[in-house]
């Protein structure tokens, strides 16, 4: 199979105005992926499926990812006037990256027996009603999995034929796979709570500064 760079240039050539980005993966898997822009996602998906040398006709897996807002501390060198002469000084700058939600598609070709090509779509923000174009019209197998992403992450897929909750009940209003999801407080006694469960236990019970020490008490919300 051709490299991701070649796919990128050919796709950009085939779909005018489309802008793709290669997201590197620095982990041991070293599996980079293609980030599609929202407006041309469906046209590029069609190109990936129908192009005779690619023929990525099988979408094996669709999943969601939640990326929270984050700030990264970066050290940069700045020229400053120090004691009358110009010097290079290291300065720490905080860079803010706004959060977003992501849908990841894994594509294979049944015709040419190659793959996977990993394709990503990103929402503008993490707000309620974050929108992405649906790829179900291109790959029918994405239908249930896009519903699952809608159910658990709250991404709305524009153009999906039947977008409803699939695992949780219809009356449910939360999105449990989002990182800021807090489940209802139904903590039950555990003999040896640890990690997350210990945190839950502390939040569930009234604080006891005398026994536990004031620093062990989680703030009451």
């Amino acid at each position: 199979m051709e490299s991701l760079e070649e796919i990128k240039t050919r796709a950009e050539h085939a779909v005018s105005g489309a802008k793709l980005e290669i997201i590197p993966n620095l982990g041991p898997a070293n599996q980079p992926s293609l980030l599609l822009d929202q407006t041309h996602a469906s046209a590029i998906a069609r190109f990936l499926r129908d192009d005779p040398t690619l023929r990525l006709d099988y979408c094996s897996n669709v999943t969601g990812v939640d990326w929270l807002d984050r700030t990264m501390k970066k050290k940069i060198k700045v020229k400053r006037m120090v004691e009358g002469e110009e010097k290079e000084v290291e300065e720490t700058v905080e860079e803010f990256f706004p959060g977003y939600l992501e849908a990841v598609y894994h594509l294979y070709s049944m015709t040419h027996k190659h793959g996977p090509v990993v394709v990503r779509l990103r929402t503008d923000d993490r707000a309620e009603g974050a929108l992405l174009p649906s790829l179900t019209p291109v790959w029918r197998s994405a239908e249930f999995q896009e519903r699952e992403i809608y159910d658990l992450y709250g991404i709305h897929f524009d153009g999906h034929p039947d977008l409803r909750r699939i695992l949780m009940w219809d009356e449910f209003t939360d999105f449990p796979m989002r990182k800021d999801y807090r489940e209802p407080d139904d903590y039950e006694y555990e003999p040896t709570p640890h990690d997350d469960v210990l945190e839950k236990a502390k939040q569930h019970y009234a604080p006891r500064p005398a026994q536990d020490g004031a620093e062990n008490i989680a703030p009451q919300t």
Partner: protein, 208 residues
């Protein structure tokens, strides 16, 4: 000796003479305990063990429980075999409500007892006893067929000990004992209510 009960020694003596004496209650309970018809449904991996129990190797028919009924109207026993998700819980309670009295519940496996390995999750009910009364609990993940048979025999023992009249009369014979329980509603964040306080009595935890 209770009123209406017969001396065991006299009974044995009569039996030696070829006279078999029994009481209505004994006969009735003997019939009931040897023809417990379970409701035919399974929820997760415990159901596979339940199927194995019903199949020829473990053969629940030896205890008269082989008639798995596909309708709650004909069932005496509900074996809650597997993980009860919050989405499934109202249907389980509804099925229980549709079973005729006397009815019994076996809570099979860690999930049906307490949520098991999924206890800390958001989508699994932390035990079916939050909504319906349970007669026998079987721990295990999943419990072996022998454990289910043991629970079945425990239930038979329980049925055998139920009295039809008098002061210690069985619960299901009392007119004011409820045989139906409210079906929980799907709420915005959780099932409403999260547990039925009339049924669910967890032990109070004393914090040392």
């Amino acid at each position: 000796m209770m009123e209406g009960e017969m001396d065991e020694g006299l009974k044995g003596e009569l039996q030696k003479q070829g006279i078999w004496v029994t009481s209505m209650q004994e006969l009735y309970n003997w019939g009931r305990k040897n023809s417990i018809w379970p409701l035919q449904f399974g929820l997760a991996c415990c159901a596979i063990e339940m199927i194995a129990t019903a199949a020829s190797r473990y053969d629940i028919a030896r205890f008269g429980g082989e008639v798995f009924r596909p309708s709650p109207r004909q069932a005496d026993l509900m074996i809650v075999a597997g993980t009860v998700t919050k989405k499934m819980a109202p249907q389980i309670v509804r099925l229980y409500n549709q079973m005729p009295d006397p009815k019994y519940v076996i809570s099979m496996g860690a999930c049906a007892i307490s949520g098991g390995p999924f206890k800390q999750g958001y989508n699994v009910l932390k035990g079916i006893d939050r909504y319906i009364p349970v007669d026998v609990y079987i721990p295990g993940c999943p419990p072996r067929p022998e454990a289910l048979l043991h629970a079945f025999m425990e239930l038979q023992r329980k049925i055998d000990g139920q009295k039809l009249t008098g002061k210690g009369k069985a619960e299901f014979l009392k007119a004011n004992t409820p045989s139906e329980f409210p079906v929980p509603e799907f709420g915005a964040h959780d099932l409403m209510p999260p547990a039925n306080p009339d049924v669910f009595h967890p032990p109070a935890i004393e914090r040392a």
